[in-house]
């Protein structure tokens, strides 16, 4: 599985400027790539473009050298799974139904789930530590449980690439760490992951590669050490920051706006 963007641009109808412009990006198997950058910088748009959910206005995105638009949704879902930023449903689905939807792309239109499908669901439930919740209704889950259920649904797709759009947006520190640990574990088992996140420090700790998106363009890309540079981050986030080393990883710390005089 190789997902590649070359000069990709996205411009929404009626919008004055492009949401994404001139993006080159390559995702290869077995790596965790973090997509970071300011709010409204085009991260989610880029993800949608990479997955063929919005059309490109220029450039191209290919999955295994075939243009993304030429993949059917069904074929794509067997290789790439997305955990969207947020979602809700008006109905009281059980956890096992929700995770079972991950098998949709593997089923015939009228055929029931096979033993193989059920195994994939069971495995995904166990891997995300939500097997004990399988009979619960999704509306009774806590924020952390709900995120793990949605990741389990993505795993039930048995994808090669897992895309997570701000998976820890509403989680507290402990659940956030658990979630990144889970994703890092999955990558160690051979999955590729693209994680959109606002947590620069967690991104730097867990990701092999970081891509910093600002104003629709790639402002920097490379190892965490290459991206976590104070002058670069200060300019992109429009706030003075310091980068320090902690447990062998770069950590960003915001400073006072007046340049750190006083406290």
């Amino acid at each position: 599985m190789i997902l590649q963007a070359q000069g990709a641009a996205i411009r929404y109808p009626g919008a004055p400027a492009a949401a994404v412009q001139d993006v080159d990006l390559t995702l290869v198997p077995g790596e965790l790539v973090a997509l970071v950058g300011p709010n409204g910088g085009g991260k989610t748009s880029l993800v949608h473009g990479l997955l063929g959910l919005v059309p490109l206005s220029a450039g191209q995105v290919t999955l295994d050298q075939r243009p993304i638009a030429r993949w059917s949704r069904r074929e794509l879902a067997q290789l790439v799974a997305l955990v969207p930023q947020r979602e809700d449903t008006p109905f009281s689905w059980r956890v096992e139904d929700m995770v079972g939807f991950g098998r949709y792309a593997h089923l015939g239109p009228l055929s029931a789930m096979t033993v193989r499908d059920r195994e994939a669901v069971d495995q995904a439930l166990r891997r995300c530590d939500v097997a004990g919740l399988r009979r619960r209704s999704v509306e009774t889950l806590s924020g952390g449980e709900w995120q793990r259920v949605r990741i389990a649904r993505a795993l039930a797709q048995e994808p090669a690439l897992l895309v997570l759009d701000e998976p820890t947006a509403s989680l507290d520190l402990g659940h956030e760490m658990e979630l990144f640990d889970l994703v890092a574990g999955l990558v160690a088992e051979g999955l590729s992951a693209l994680v959109v996140t606002h947590h620069l420090n967690l991104a730097a700790r867990y990701a092999g590669r970081m891509v910093l998106i600002d104003d629709g363009r790639v402002a920097a890309a490379g190892t965490p050490g290459e991206v976590m540079r104070p002058e670069l981050l200060s300019a992109v986030f429009r706030w003075p920051v310091e980068v320090i080393a902690l447990e062998g990883a770069a950590h960003v710390v915001p400073r006072r706006r007046d340049g750190g005089q006083g406290r």
Binding site: G14, R74, S92, P109
Partner: protein, 322 residues
């Protein structure tokens, strides 16, 4: 016993009851005799009048129920029904025009209702995708309400301009009812409704995914745009066929889907067949009440379904907003 078997028995019981009651009550043994032989004493009333009426009410009810349940998944709102989305209004206005213009006949009015229903769908669809934006379920409901208001205005205009004779026909039809039911109307309705009904049953899994929203549905492997169009067209065809044979009967698409979702869960592969049986039975009973409760006057069946449906709608609204 499986819930679906229980429902089938209840629906059958509702049909038997509806066959027995009426201006001339037919006891069970006479009913069975009449169904068994065309020469039995009550054969004419049971076979020629009540049986087609009961079967028509059952199939129309089932189709309206399945339509309601499908639209609820489509626009991700348990309050959705064909009326809210303007489909019935469009079908109604075209049928009213056809009646007022004297275009009668069992094939003409359904055809007019189809054209009107699809026209309303196209208008609602167009309104909710203005400026090239993707279909937004909330805007869709709003557009449906706007189109309903528009068709309501046209119907008022037609009623105002009609002669007394036309007025009576249009008005009776607008209230809804099965008094005109015959084997022929049953055949016409089935011919129109069969294919779209099967299409919705076959789309059960797509409906599950559509209820999650576009982004999850697409990433799970569904071509959401195509599925939505298919469901919307099938739902409009079923609504138009129903409006054509029995006029505007509301709330049938709301009652059974709500009750059965609580009982069987939201999965559409189990839900839709159950909703067909449940809504069919519901409309059969509503029709039986409509023609017996103030005998010899027959109430419009839409009055009965509204009396049950409106309080339920209020309860549902409270629950949805909480």
């Amino acid at each position: 016993m499986k819930p679906i078997a229980g429902l089938a028995l209840l629906a059958l019981a509702a049909c038997v009851l509806a066959l027995a009651v009426g201006a001339t009550p037919v006891p069970l043994h006479a009913l069975l005799a009449a169904l068994g032989s065309p020469d039995a004493p009550s054969a004419a009333i049971v076979r020629d009048i009540r049986l087609p009426r009961v079967l028509l009410a059952f199939t129309v009810g089932g189709c309206l129920g399945v339509t309601g349940a499908s639209l609820q998944a489509l626009i991700r709102n348990p309050l959705a029904d064909p009326y809210l989305l303007g489909i019935s209004g469009g079908a109604g206005v075209a049928a009213v025009l056809a009646i007022a213009l004297g275009l009668n006949g069992s094939w003409g009015i359904p055809l007019a209702a189809f054209v009107g229903g699809l026209g309303a769908v196209a208008l609602v669809y167009r309104l909710s995708t203005v400026a090239g934006r993707r279909l937004d379920p909330h805007v869709l409901v709003l557009a449906g309400v706007v189109v309903s208001a528009f068709t309501g205005a046209i119907i008022s205009a037609v009623l105002t301009l009609s002669t007394a004779e036309q007025l009576r026909n249009v008005f009776l039809w607008l209230l809804g009812g099965f008094s005109g039911a015959s084997w022929r109307t049953l055949a016409v309705f089935s011919a129109y409704a069969g294919l779209p009904l099967l299409a919705l049953f076959a789309a059960a899994r797509s409906l599950d995914l559509l209820s999650l929203g576009t982004e999850p549905a697409q990433s799970l492997g569904l071509d959401a745009g195509r599925s939505r169009r298919l469901v919307y067209v099938a739902a409009s065809l079923l609504t138009a066929a129903s409006v054509a044979v029995c006029g505007v009967v509301g709330f049938v698409g709301l009652v059974a889907p709500h009750a059965l979702r609580g009982l069987l869960g939201p999965g559409h592969r189990r839900l839709l067949p159950a909703v067909f049986l449940g809504s069919g039975g519901f409309l059969v009973l509503a029709d039986a009440v409509a023609r017996t409760v103030v005998r010899p006057i027959e109430l419009p069946v839409g009055v009965v379904t509204a009396l049950v449906g409106v309080p339920l709608f209020a309860v549902l609204l409270r629950r949805t907003l909480r």
